[in-house]
Amino acid sequence: MDAVVVEKLEKKFNGFTAVDKISFNVKRGELFGFLGPNGAGKSTTIYMLTTLIAPTSGTANVNGFDIRTDSEAVRKSIGIVFQDPTVDIRLTAYDNLDIHGRLYGMAAQARKERIREVLELVELTEWKDKMVKTFSGGMRRRLEIARGLLHTPEVLFLDEPTLGLDPQTRRHIWQYIEKLRKGGIAMMLTTHYLEEADYLCDRVAIIDHGRIKALDTPRNLKGIIGGNIIRIEAREPQKLAEMLKKNGCCKAPKVEGTIVSFEVKEGGKLVPKIMSAASKAGIDVENIEMRMPSLEDVFIHYTGTSIREEKGAGGDMMMRRRARGF
């Protein structure tokens, strides 16, 4: 049986649908990604799968146990790294891990051994006896990851594990996650960083307004877009777009400011054609760019908006994180 099996899972908050009857599976040993903007329903899904809130309807099995009827068994099987910080900053790193191990019923010997291992994994061994309130955001995050792994769970949930961290620390955490994947644990990770989903995940579900819009490997998702994305910067973008449509270069060019962009099967052959057609029509092309599609394009393709437009709200979240982490 798959590590996580989700069937028509739904969550409503006073009539507002946060998660809208989603279904998906996470296979054993797989790193499954949940990609979506702020408010998409990622955390709500994680809370339901980790038995912290009850679904309105539908159900899910985690490690073979029903989240509604067998929550204790589910909890024993999983590790969680929450989006918001949950370590006790008035305890040392070691005590945070020690108390976690006890809460999960680990025997003394195994607990000590595992604490040593996970501290080493996240490179906090030297800091183990320091109070967590003296830790940087990145160190706290690493401690949370260590804690989530301490009791050797079958499934690890990571809710935005790199939110608000600098690029260097983010790469660092990616390394740990990759190491874990080699160890064979099933992981479900949420993120609104496209690069993160693309770089780390075996399969990605694109979620928006509580619905899964697409689900596949990053490679296949990008394949949906077809061949390439072409972006042209021109003085008269509207005119250029009209012309391109008329001469059959593309079907649905999008105009934003001075940029005309569209998806095509084989961009390589088209670029010279566009250039000559434009010069014949007397339209100045300032810049033309052809690239492979990214998950960003896939996201736009399915949701109609860019995930980056939500940046303002994302910034807010980071502020809150920092304020709370105090």
């Binding site: 809370y47 038995t51 969680i80 929450f82 900053i89 020690d98």
Partner: protein, 250 residues
Amino acid sequence: MAFEPGKIYAVWLREVKRFTNSKARIVSSLGQPILFLVALGGGLSAMLPGFNYLAFILPGIMAMTVMFTSIFSGVSIIWDREFGFLKEMLAAPTSRETIVLGRILGGATTAVFQGTVMFILGMLFTGVPIPPLMGIIGIFVLMTIFSCYLVAAGIAIASVVQEVETFQLLMNFLVMPLFFLSSALFPINQMPSWLQDISGLNPVSYAVDGMRGMLIGTSTFTIAYDFGVSLAVLLVAFLAASYFFNKTSI
């Protein structure tokens, strides 16, 4: 409900470690009672010749110390919710009753420790003779019961209220009246009758009365009655704490 001693110990350990890690909390929670004892006890003693008021309020001051720390400890679940640690506990394969029990015992440990410090200070500086061993044990047991029900009451309240903003409000409008409208500072039988009625309904009065009886030999009720009332309150408070904490969510 499964009995999980190892996990109860985990929750207890966290409470105690947090306490010992914070020197400020230890000092500040003793400062106020010492001030009361010195200023109120010292001052009023001088005005009431022939009555050792200092000895009379020592149990009241010990109760005050225990009250502050206990209720603070129970209500601090509000802070755990705010700072996230509550999620860590609720997500663990640990029953809610275990968490409640661990917190009660942890909070009571820190509170009784402070009550004991006040007791020793009182023995040293108020001239109250040291009670017999049975009396000392009785005082500790009653102080522990008292502390446990206050922590439990704090947990029950924190499970329902949930907002940090109400924290200070609770401390002021719950702890202060409970303390002042009890027998902690004045003998019940010399109060005006309306105050006697209120104070008779206030469980704090019985804990103080029992401790006073065992410490200096004067009490309004019998010691057994004081124990009985306190144990009954503990049972109710524990059930309330379990019930409301069971319903709480992240």
